[in-house]
Each structure stands twice: as structure tokens, then as C-alpha cells.
Symmetry: C2
Subunit: 369 residues, 2 copies
């Protein structure tokens, strides 16, 4: 039986998810036993429910091949239409049009929600409502959006297997904290039993891409324009420049890895606005980066985002422009560093597939896991 | 019901495993539901079977607390005796003395084998026989020793869940390839569906610690003596110096992450012997490190171990002396780097506990996973 999934959000990441499902359909089935069917999709214009046609157990091989081909064509047709600037509500698709993503998640019969809508960081919507409802309806939720996690991590964790209840639906978000960087995964799975003294991170790529330009003598405004031309700056540049993106990623890490409850007001935050090329260039070989840190102190952790001069032997110091990374300073495992240099949204979409495959023991009927 | 485990090997790593179980007994139980009881242990002098007393479901809380205290004291008594230079066969322990580790694994009723005996890299023994038998007897196997994996990965994988059979016992070895470095874990779990173009690694710490000394002007012989005084050189220094350790770790990575079958004769291997401080010091800011690589080529991968001059912006270039690392060059996830700087054997022992906790869904009765 194929896994039935919903996808909310058809921006770069959402389209990437569909492309990856289309390209890797056979590998997912043969290597992981994970057939998959998109049963519903939504963008900001509306939603569409294809219906639950996933059960093709009773089909012969030839019919199943036909179904696979049909599925791949369906996914790629949506991608092409969106790339061409069309809205979902204007497409001629088989099935049932619905008002919006929330209606889709309220009504659809599905096993997994992939949530990749643009994040509103003041109220976490629409992602928060979608993820909450999916978990309440016993769907697993795989997120690329940060808003729901930043604003409602304790609530969502309590609704999911992160509460410790193995029977609850899974909540996964390895693509929400630095794209393809396995920042959350290494923190949660590979540092078992460790006492974490400090986290240092450069998971907000754009400010450090801007600082790299300024290191070459470019003014702040021109460096920002350069980054905007690369398509990597948030529509509201303040999210990047003033360190909100870095703070939000830090908040997800400290809640999910450290189990430490915190909100944006707990972060001592300083951005890169107002810096000049002379501030950024060092006479020695240190390098100025926007670093988000959590440092153990009496009663918890001190959280900060600020430009820091890193010594050349700091494990985040010699990255490529905009390379992301996180350092965990631990007792049992020493100093563990994870870095990722990627371009484009593929890494985030791939991280959602990584999460999906990680749910295999819960998705494959007959798995003994 | 507590998980019953065997431990073979009571060197630094094995003792570390016992210390970690003693120190984290309560956390393992409360956070992961993993009670654990050492039911058998072996060193090179012999083995000891404590018997299957793990079932304390029918005990009251007070009795269980007593049992926990007793277990902790048992573990720490073994550690103290070994630290004092005593042999297992000379200790006065409750239960049954056995001839050797193989007899223990042949006879004991247990759920998990922790295998941490010294590796013989010509025949993989005694670890290979122990792991093979454990898997055949349906015990999960957690390895710190490299020999069995280097020499018999295909056979051991076929006996375990790595064959794709979820009902087969698990084979885990995250501590065998760079101590605490989550090199295997990131490769296997976080690069799902990726095409891996190249792996570069500095997971053999000792040669690079020696090169670091030589960079400071120390002769090869004195640098080797320095590393030996740190206790990090293999009894046969050739394993480190001639790149065998680096090659073996690479062979485990390429088999387990790339699924590419290879043996030592497939590795184009060049060590650091014969280098002088002048060879090691660069006039520019490049750095010479012993790097093990797997590079995609027609029909498979080219495997090599050799000293390489890394540019300063290479993600492994700015490590601390002897810092370990691996870089995965992928299509979907970009360039992913994992590094670990640790001292002492705690990281490897902790990695075995990491593997153990990762088996939780298979170990906890009543888990729905």
C-alpha cells in the first residue's frame, strides 16, 4: 500500500519535494518499500484533493507501473504549471478543489503532511494550524517551515511522538534548521546522554553571505543587493539582517536538542546592520560571522545572536561564503561540528524526503520495527 | 524488563561502556525506557556469565532500586579491578566463569552484544567470530572494533537488518569509524537518496597528530614518540603511519554508506613515513594531512589514502591537532562535513551507547515502533 501524503506550500521547497518524489519513485519503492501518492496539495490560491486512490495492492504489476507513471506525470505537471506562474486553483486537475490548505488538512485521508508554506513568524500561520490539525488527525508531520516550531514547539511536541509517546504521530523538521544541514538530527540522535555545554551556529546563511561580500570591500547596501539578486534574502530583509532568522533557528535547536524552553525575547540579539567594510575586515586572519549561541549558565542557557570574530581554527571559521554550520560542545562526544555548503532549495526539499524515509518503520505495513 | 547485554573487551573502550551504563542508568530508564543489565563479560583472560537475572518486572519499586544499586556496583567493581591491572578470571564474581568470549556468546541468553575487543586486522578475530555468532543467535551487535567490518562486511550485513530484513538482528558500529564522529550515521541516515560523488576523510587521528607535531619542526621519530606518549598509537605503529587505519575506516564507510564492496587491496595507499618537517611545513597557508578518499569513477569508486595539501578553505583544513572529519560531496545535500575533536576513549564508548539507544524501538517491549 502506498503512503498517502499531503503537501502544503508550492514555493521552491514544495516544488522540490514533488520533483524529488517524481525522480526517486522507484528507489523509494525498491530500497525502502515506500511507495508514495500525493493525495492533496495546496498553495496560497487554494487546495486540491485528489482523493484516496493509494491502495493499489490489488493491482497487477502492469497496472502498478501505469499508476507510477501517472503519478510521476501528475507531480511534474504541477511543478511545471507553478514554474510557469500559474495558481493551483486555475489548474485542471482530477479530484476535488477545496478552499484552502486548512480545509485540505481538515478533510483529507492521508498518512503524512509535508508543510512548506511561507512562515509568518508573528503567529506561525498558516503552518501552525496545519501541523496542529495534522497531528490531531494522527498524520505524521514533516516541516520545512520554522514558524510553527519557533512559536509552538511545546504544544506540537506534546501532540507528537516527541512527547515520548511512541504511538503518537511523528513530528520531524530536519530541513527547518539550516536546509540540508543535519543540525537537529545530529543533536537529537548522535549526542545521546551528553551534557551539552554550548551550541554555536551559523545556520542563517544570508547574513554571512553579506558579510563575505563586505569582507571584499563591498558596502552593506551593495552586499545586501548582491544577496537579494541571488534570491536568498527574505522578503522582509530585517529577518536576515537583524538576526531574527538566526535566532529562530537557534530557538528550534535549543528546544528540540537541549529540551530548553525559550522564546524570541530570551535571545540577546544583535544583527549586522550598521556594519561597514572596515568593521568586517580584520587585520589578522580572524573572520567576522553572525553567530547564534546557547551557552550553559546557572539555571539554563544564555542565548545570543551577534557578529563574532572567530579565530582561524574555530570549526566554523573557514567556511565557503554562506556555508552553514553548528558546533556542539559536549562532555561525552567532545566537540562535534556539522557543516553544509549548498546552493538553492534542493537541500531543504531533500531534508524533507530524509525525514520521510526516516519514518519508514512507522509507515511500512508489516515492518517489525 | 531490562535489556540483557554482553560486553566483550575490557580495554579503555569496554571499561568506558561500563562506566557510562553505571553513570546513566537512571536516565536510560526514565528518558528511554531502557533498563539494562550486564549478563556477561569477557576480557583476554576469560569470560564470566552472571546469568539471566534481568527480569525484574515482578519486583516492587524498592527491590528494583536495590537491583539498580547492585548493578551499578557490579559494573564499577569490574572497572576498578581492571584499572588496577587485574584479570577478569582472577576476580571473585557471582555466576559462572567461562573459558573465553566465544563461549560466552555461544551460551549466554542476551539481547545485545557490545564488542570492543582489540582488532586483529588480518583475520578480524576474535571480534568476527563473536559478532557472527551473536547475529546468528538473534542478538543485536554494537561494535567498536573495526576488524569484523573491514574483513566481513557483506557477510555480517547479510546476517543483520542491514540486509533490508527488518526482522533480522541489528548491526551497528557508529563508534568504529572515528570514535564519536557521527560519520556512518550521517552518511547512512542524513544523505537519503543522494548521489555521493566523493568522500574525503581524516578519521585516522594519530597520523595527523604526528603531522601537526612535524609542522612545528619536530622530526618524524620525535613526533611519533610524542604520539606514543599520548597513548594514541597502535601497538604496531605501522597501522597508523602507513595509513592502514585510515584505509580501514574508509573501507567501512564505502561499504556501509556507498554500498560499494571493496577490500584493502583496492585502496591506493600511501602513509606518512619518510616525511620530514620540511615536507610537512608549507610556505603558504595550506596544510598537509593524511586524507582517505573515495572518488566516483566509471564503474565504481577510486579509493586512496595519501598525504594531501589542503587549501585553507577546505572544510577539514582548520581542525585542531588530530581532529577527525569526513566530507560528503553530494548532489541533493551539497557538501556535508562532520568533524569531531575529542580526547580519550570516552567518545567511542559513548558512540556505543548512542547505538544502543538507537535500538530502542527494537528493545522496548510494547513500543509500537
Amino acid at each position: 500500500m502506498a503512503v498517502r501524503y499531503l503537501l502544503t506550500g508550492l514555493g521552491n521547497v514544495g516544488r522540490g519535494v514533488l520533483e524529488l518524489f517524481a525522480a526517486h519513485q522507484e528507489t523509494l519503492a525498491s530500497r525502502y518499500g515506500l511507495g508514495a501518492r500525493l493525495v492533496g496539495v495546496a498553495d496560497s490560491s487554494g487546495a486540491h484533493y485528489f482523493g484516496d486512490k493509494s491502495n493499489d495492492d490489488d493491482k497487477g504489476d502492469a497496472d502498478r507501473d501505469d499508476a507510477d507513471t501517472h503519478e510521476r506525470e501528475k507531480l511534474l505537471a504541477i511543478v511545471r504549471a507553478k514554474r510557469a506562474g500559474r495558481r493551483l486553483r486555475d489548474l485542471d486537475l482530477p479530484g476535488t478543489p477545496l478552499a484552502d490548505a486548512q480545509t485540505l488538512v481538515d478533510r483529507a485521508a492521508a498518512d503524512v503532511l509535508f508543510e512548506a508554506t511561507p512562515t509568518d513568524l508573528t503567529d506561525g500561520q498558516p503552518g501552525l494550524g496545519l501541523v496542529r490539525r495534522a497531528l490531531q488527525r494522527n498524520m505524521h508531520a514533516v516541516l520545512a517551515s520554522k514558524g510553527p516550531l519557533v512559536l509552538a514547539y511545546p504544544e506540537l511536541a506534546a501532540l507528537s511522538d516527541l512527547s515520548g509517546d511512541d504511538d503518537a504521530p511523528a513530528l520531524r523538521f530536519s530541513g527547518a534548521v539550516g536546509g540540508a544541514t543535519p543540525s537537529v538530527n545530529v543533536g537529537r540522535r548522535d549526542l545521546v546522554l551528553a551534557d551539552i555545554e554550548q551550541i554555536e551556529s551559523t545556520l542563517s546563511s544570508t547574513p554571512n553571505l553579506i558579510l563575505d561580500q563586505m569582507r571584499r570591500g563591498v558596502s552593506f547596501d551593495d552586499a545586501l543587493a548582491y544577496a537579494q539578486a541571488q534570491g536568498v534574502v527574505e522578503p522582509d530583509p530585517s529577518l536576515d539582517i537583524d538576526g531574527y532568522d538566526a535566532a529562530n533557528k537557534l530557538l528550534i535547536l535549543v528546544q528540540s536538542v537541549l529540551g530548553y524552553p525559550a522564546t524570541l525575547k530570551d535571545v540577546d540579539r544583535q544583527g549586522i546592520g550598521g556594519l561597514t567594510p572596515d568593521d568586517v575586515r580584520c587585520p589578522d586572519d580572524r573572520v567576522l560571522l553572525l553567530v547564534a549561541s546557547a551557552t550553559k549558565q546557572a539555571g539554563g542557557y544564555h542565548l545570543s545572536v551577534r557578529p563574532r570574530l572567530l579565530e582561524p581554527d574555530h570549526p566554523l571559521a573557514n567556511g565557503a561564503p554562506g556555508e552553514m554550520g553548528v558546533v556542539y560542545h559536549t562532555d561525552l562526544y567532545g566537540r562535534i561540528t556539522v557543516r553544509c555548503y549548498e546552493e538553492g532549495p534542493t537541500g531543504t526539499a531533500a531534508a524533507m524526503l530524509r525525514d520521510f524515509v526516516g519514518l519508514r518503520p512507522r509507515l511500512v505495513v508489516g515492518s517489525s520495527l
